[in-house]
Point group: C2
C-alpha cells in the first residue's frame, strides 16, 4: 500500500494547518507569526501519529493539555518548508482543506523570506491566515493586529 497516499488521506480527515499570532513587543513589527501543522488523536490510537513522525522525519508527539488526546505537531519553519509542504504539494488533499494548505504554504514561504518583518508582508500573512479554518477560534482578531483597521 502507498503509505504516502494513506497519510495524505488521514491528514485530510484529521490534520490541521494553522497560523497563530503572538504579540512580541521586542520584534520589529510587534507580532510573532507561528505556523503549525498538527494531527490529534485519542491516546489509544497513537500508532498512526508515530508512523507519521517516522514518514515526515520531523515534529514531536505530546499530550494535548486541553483534552485527553495526543498531538503530532511540526512547528519548525525549516521542517515545514522543506518536508511537510513538499509532501502535500506531491499529495494534494481532496477536500476543501486543500485551500487551507495552499494558504498555509504561502504563509510559511513568506515568513521564511522575512516578509512578516514588514507591515505589507504581515498584512498579506494575516489576511491569508484569517481566511483559513473558518470554523476555528482565533485569539486575536484582525483589528488587534492592525488596530487602525475598520472592523470587516
Amino acid at each position: 500500500m502507498d503509505l504516502s497516499a494513506y497519510f495524505a488521506g488521514f491528514v485530510d480527515g484529521e490534520g490541521c494547518f494553522t497560523v497563530s499570532f503572538s504579540p512580541r513587543s521586542k520584534l520589529l513589527i510587534g507580532w510573532e507569526v507561528r505556523p503549525s501543522f498538527s494531527v490529534s488523536q485519542n491516546a489509544d490510537r497513537s500508532e498512526v501519529l508515530l508512523l507519521m513522525r517516522q514518514q515526515f522525519g520531523c515534529g514531536s508527539i505530546r499530550p494535548d493539555r486541553s483534552d485527553k488526546t495526543l498531538k503530532y505537531e511540526v512547528r519548525c519553519l525549516d521542517d515545514l518548508v522543506e518536508r511537510i509542504i513538499p509532501f502535500f504539494e506531491g499529495h494534494p488533499l481532496l477536500s476543501s482543506k486543500q485551500r487551507d494548505f495552499e494558504r498555509f504554504a504561502r504563509v510559511c514561504k513568506l515568513v521564511r523570506n522575512q516578509a512578516h518583518r514588514t507591515e505589507l508582508g504581515l498584512r498579506e500573512i494575516v489576511s491569508l491566515a484569517m481566511a483559513m479554518n473558518p470554523s476555528g477560534k482565533r485569539k486575536f482578531a484582525l483589528e488587534a493586529i492592525f488596530p487602525q483597521e475598520l472592523k470587516l
Copy 2:
C-alpha cells in the same frame, strides 16, 4: 496518487464500523442485527464523501439528523461483504481501528451465513459487537439482549 490508500487513511481517521441491535418481536431470536460502515464530515467538506461513494460504488450520503454533518453510509449487507470488506482487507488500517474492522468483518460474514438466527450465533455477534468502539455509546447493553446474563 494511490486513491485507494488515500481513502484507507481517511477512513482510519474519520470512518466508523458499527453493529447495532434492534428489538424485532417478529424475528426468530427477537433481535435484528444491523452492521454499518459510515464516514461523517461537515457539510462544507463533502468532496471526499462523494469521491468515496464513487470509489466504493455503493452506499448513500445524507444529512445526519443529530448535527450539521453529512454522513456517507453503507448498510446493505451484500455491499458490505462484497465491496467494503474486501477493500479494507486489501488496505489494512494502521491504527487500532483495524481491530474494530476485523470484528466488523466477522459479524457481517456471520450475519450473511444466517448465524444471527441462532442463539449461539447471536451470542458470538453480540460479543464481537460489544468489543468494538469502546468509547461509543450503546442503546442496548448485553443484558438487554440476553436478559438471563449476569452483568459483566
